[in-house]
Every structure is written in C-alpha cells, then in structure tokens.
C-alpha cells in the first residue's frame, strides 16, 4: 500500500466516526495533512533493526581513481551507500562513506577484508567501523 492509499484508508476510518456533516473537501484536507505525517513516520520507523550502518574512512596521499576504486568494491557486493563525503585534510585525501549492509551480498568481515585489500592496492589506509561507535562517541 503506498502512502497516499494508506492516508485515504486512515481518513475513511476517521470519516466513519466523524459527524455526517464532514464534507469531501474536509476529507481531502485530512489526507493532505496525513501524507507528510506518515512519510516522516515511515522514515523514523525504517531506522533501526534492519539497517546495519557501517562507516568506512579512507585516508592517504591524494591521487586519481581512489573514489572509483572503492565504489567499485561497494557495487560489487551490492552495498548501499547512504552518505558519502570526500575532502582534503592538510593536502591528504580523506573520504568518509556511510553504507548500509542490510541486503548486501557480504557480511561485515567480508566487506572489511575486501576494502582493506583494495586499500593496499591503491596505497591508502582504510578503516571500517560499525556506526555504533560514532553514535556512542558523538551523540547523547
């Protein structure tokens, strides 16, 4: 059921219990208000359980092809990129990628090993950590 259909179903229930005088316009307004509400609820509801966020940090001397080297590994294993950020720190390359392991064709150890190996090939350091550590240190 998509969000609009869900909103209409919810409104139907409301209408059955509302006074008969409620108009179709009023119902449409209720649907319009419900959609954003359900959307945000859906996003919050998706967060825990099935998501297994992993933070990959790549650091080293800047040269071409680093981003490609790692996005290739991630694509190969069907790992979903949630957020990606790349910068230069004191002239050195630094890339931070947040990925979701849910639905990937590998587990944490497998991904870590593949990324470390690729890191050696392109001469950069790779760190791979479950997101829990970032949350523990940076969020109250």
């Amino acid at each position: 059921m998509d969000r609009r259909a869900l909103a209409i179903a919810v409104t139907d229930i409301l209408l059955r219990h509302l006074p008969q005088s409620a108009t179709e316009e009023a119902a449409a307004a209720v649907v319009a208000d419900l959609i954003p509400l359900l959307e945000s609820a859906g996003e919050q509801g998706q967060e825990p359980e099935d998501r297994r966020l992993v933070i990959i940090t790549v650091m080293g001397k800047n040269h071409s092809g680093i981003v490609h080297a790692f996005s290739e590994v991630l694509a190969e294993y069907g790992v979903d990129i949630v957020d990606i950020n790349q910068t230069l720190v004191h002239g050195n390359f630094a890339m931070m990628v947040i990925v979701d392991l849910a639905g990937a064709r590998t587990d944490f150890q497998g991904l870590k090993a593949a990324l470390k190996k690729r890191g050696e090939e392109v001469h950069v350091q790779v760190y791979c950590q479950y997101e829990d550590i970032m949350r523990a240190v940076n969020r109250i």
Partner: protein, 453 residues
C-alpha cells in the same frame, strides 16, 4: 542520521592515533559453589566452571572490538575471593586450587586471573590465614594468578596483624622470585576499602554480592586526555576541567558500548564501567604526561597533587554521565613502573615515595608498582603499608599498596618485569625504625566517621 566529517575524523583520531584502548574486559565468576573438603576435588570443580563460563570471552571480545575498530588490550577473569571457597584450611589446599586456576586461564588464553584473595579487615578465619601463608608459593609457582588482601576498611579500622603478615609474605615472595626481579610481588596488592567490582589487576576479585557471572569493563585513555589538554592550550582551570570531562565522557561511552555488546552476545549481565585512566609503559600512554601537559615541569613538582585531584575528579564527573553503571576504582592510576613519565620522574628524583603518598590521597588507588630496596625490613614495609591504608580508612576511599622489595637491589638501580608491568626504578625508602609501633599488633579501631547510621 549522519555524521559530520569532523566527528568521524575526531573519532578516528582518538581510536587510531592517541593510544585509545579499552584496557580490560573482565568476567567476574562466582566460585563459592566449587568448595569441597578434598582440595583436589575443589580444584577440579573450579577448573570445570572456569572453562565452561569463560572460554567464549576472548573470541567474543575480539569480534566486538573488530566490529567497532577499537582495541581491547586485555581479557581477564575475576573470581570469588579464594579464601571463601570452602576446603581444608591448609596452605597446600590453596596451592592446589591455584594450580587449577592457572591451568584453566592458560588454556583459554587469559593473561591474568584476579581473586586469590582474603578479606581480613576485621580479623582472620582459619582459611584466611592458610591462604595468606600459601601466597609466596602460589605467586612464585603460577604465572597468571593475581592476589590481594583487604586489610582495612572505614567501617572496621585497620588490621595491623594482617599488614605485618603481608609484609613478611612480600619479603618471602621477593626472595622466591628473585631471578625475575621479584615479580611475584607485582602480582599482589594489599587494600583498604577494596571494591568488589574492580576489573583491573592485580586487585580484581568477584565480590560476594555480585551475580553468578558478570562482565565489567575497564577503560583507559591517558593518551586521549593528554592530547585534548594540549589542544586546549593555555585555558584556565575551569575550562581545563571541562576539556577533561568531555574527553572522559567519550572514552566511557565506548567502554559502556563494548561492555553491553560483549555481555549481550555472551548472555550474561553487564556490571560496571571502571573509568580509570590506566597508563602503560608505552610513550604517549602516561598519566604522568597528562599531569605535565597540565603545566608541571615534572610529575612530583609542587602542584602535582592539586593537578591530580582536578584530573581524577573531572574523569569521574565526565564518565559518570556516560555509562549506565560506573564502579570499580574509577579515577586515575599512578603505577610507577607502568608509566613512562613516572619512571623518568622517579629516576631523576623528582618523584619521591612521600610525594606519591600525598598523591594517593586524591588518585583512585594508591602506591602502585613501586620498587624499594631489597633490604627494606619487614617492619619498615609494614609501616609503609599502614600509612597508605590509614589514608584510605580515614578518608573513606580505596587505597592500596603494590610494592616490590626487589631482592638484592639497591636504590638507584632498576628492575624490569617486561610487558605491561614495565620497569621500576628502585626508590629510596625512609629506613627509620617504626618497629615499636607496628609490632604492637592488633587492630587500629574503626574511625569515628564509621558511626554514620
């Protein structure tokens, strides 16, 4: 849900560059149900229970550490005070049990097990006497067993007979392990107000009020605190305290996370996080260096006690908010041989035993890993221990002494234990006689502050 570049890089800097590690994940195990009249049977029961409950700990800890990209330096076991495990109260009984504990620990890959202990702050049972009498043999014939005696408490006063017994025991242990720098003494600590959930060696034991099995975590991180202080620059003391508190908070959160995950995967309760700053001999992992980063020329300078007081208190304040349960010794350790800056300060004569004694009034434990000349008499050692424990008894804090009267060594020399135990410069000890006092024997009664109800 995402993180800024700064947050990710700062976290990585902490874990990768600043010697941050979780110092120990310690499993506490109740052994009170392993007693038997026949010490061999008691030993078999202990061996069976330890290997059943603790075998999965090392691999589980390694996996959790790997998932989070955090180093966990040690995996350890704390057991019920062995003097409370019923058997025939003879020294040989306890030596037999010790052999089984050491064997179990070795087979599972643990470096230390704590709890070869007796709690005698208000007097001895027959078992307590037998266990203490067995200590020289146990400490010299086993590798992994750590031992402790609680000789005083703020509620009961100070058992001076126990203090003298400990002093004699230390001399004998030093002699028996003289070929290895009297290392047997480095595995023993005498306490006032020992805590029941301390995850750190040598003083860990599994208190009688704790659950059957429990996971405790000891965090560390002097390197992280030191770098944070350096980055803060010449700020005032209130700001300095704030910097330490914030760092302690982060460190403790990691310890709490690791403890919860390990306990969860093993299906046992999570106990406490001990948020002590615990140094290692490695450069950049030193509490002395933290004190020097705060603005002292050397650890031991005037101002050292005040700086240490600020540090210990700020650690507690920051850490207490970060974990579901904080316990153990929580504060800052100042073991001389395990701390590069302390070793240097002691060698130069900047840090003396008297200054250290003052520091222990505000640190989390006491005179830790100090080596004194081998010819120090039993009575002087007794007085030395009694002074330290009296500070704890009167001030309602844990104090302890881990002293190595290094056999055949003189002040100015140094003794090396290797590994985490480090290298101890032999420090000058005041040799004036205190025999007339310590040989009176008996109990120093409980202080007036014990009447609190």
């Amino acid at each position: 849900m995402t993180y800024t570049r700064r947050e990710i890089l700062q976290t990585l800097r902490m874990t990768e560059l600043e010697h941050f590690d979780i110092r120990t994940v310690t499993m506490g195990i109740n052994l009170l149900d392993c007693g038997h009249d026949d010490p061999a049977e008691a030993g078999r029961r202990i061996y069976a229970k330890l290997t059943r409950l603790a075998a999965a700990l090392p691999s589980t800890v390694t996996q959790v550490a790997d998932d989070l990209g955090i180093r966990v330096a040690n995996r350890r076991i704390a057991i019920s005070p062995v003097a409370l495990v019923h058997t025939r109260p003879e020294p040989s009984s306890y030596v037999a049990m010790a052999g089984q504990i050491d064997r179990a620990a070795g087979e599972m890959g643990f470096d230390f097990v704590g709890g070869y202990s007796a709690l005698v702050h208000a007097g001895f049972t027959d078992a307590d006497r037998a266990l203490i009498a067995s200590m020289p043999e146990t400490l010299s014939s086993t590798e992994r067993l750590c031992s402790s005696v609680n000789a005083g408490s703020s509620r009961t006063g100070l058992n001076m007979d126990a203090v003298r017994m400990v002093a004699a025991m230390l001399k004998e242990t030093a002699l028996r392990t003289k070929d290895r720098g009297s290392i047997g003494c480095a595995k023993f600590v005498v306490f006032a107000n020992a805590v029941e959930d301390n995850p750190f060696m040598a003083g860990a034991f599994h208190g009688t009020a704790l659950p059957e099995v429990v996971i405790h975590v000891g965090v560390s991180g002097p390197g992280v605190v030191c770098q944070a202080i350096r980055r803060a620059g010449p700020c005032d003391l209130r700001e300095l305290e704030n910097v330490i508190k914030q760092t302690a908070f982060k460190i403790t959160r990691v310890g709490d996370l690791i403890g919860r995950l390990v306990a969860d995967r093993l299906g046992v309760p999570f106990g406490i996080v001990d948020l002590s700053l615990a140094p290692t001999p490695e450069l950049g992992d030193s509490v002395g260096e933290v004190l020097e980063a705060m603005g002292l020329e050397r650890t031991g300078a005037c101002g050292t006690t005040a700086a240490l007081a600020l540090l210990t208190d700020a650690m507690k304040k920051g850490g207490a908010m970060a974990a579901s349960a904080v316990g153990g010794l929580s504060g800052a350790f100042i073991p001389v041989s395990e701390d590069a800056a302390m070793i240097a300060a002691a060698r130069e004569g900047a840090l003396t035993l008297e200054k250290m004694e003052a520091m222990t009034a505000v640190c989390s434990v006491g005179l830790d890993m100090v080596a004194v000349p081998g010819d120090t008499s039993e009575d002087v050692l007794s007085g030395f221990i009694a002074d330290e424990l009296a500070i704890g008894v009167i001030n309602h804090k844990t104090t302890a002494v881990r002293v190595i009267p290094a056999h055949g060594m003189k002040a100015g020399q140094s003794v090396s234990f290797g590994g985490l135990l480090g290298e101890a410069p032999i420090m000058e000890i005041r040799n004036l006689s205190c025999s007339g006092f310590v040989r009176r024997g008996g109990q120093i009664p409980a202080p007036i502050t014990s009447l609190r109800n």
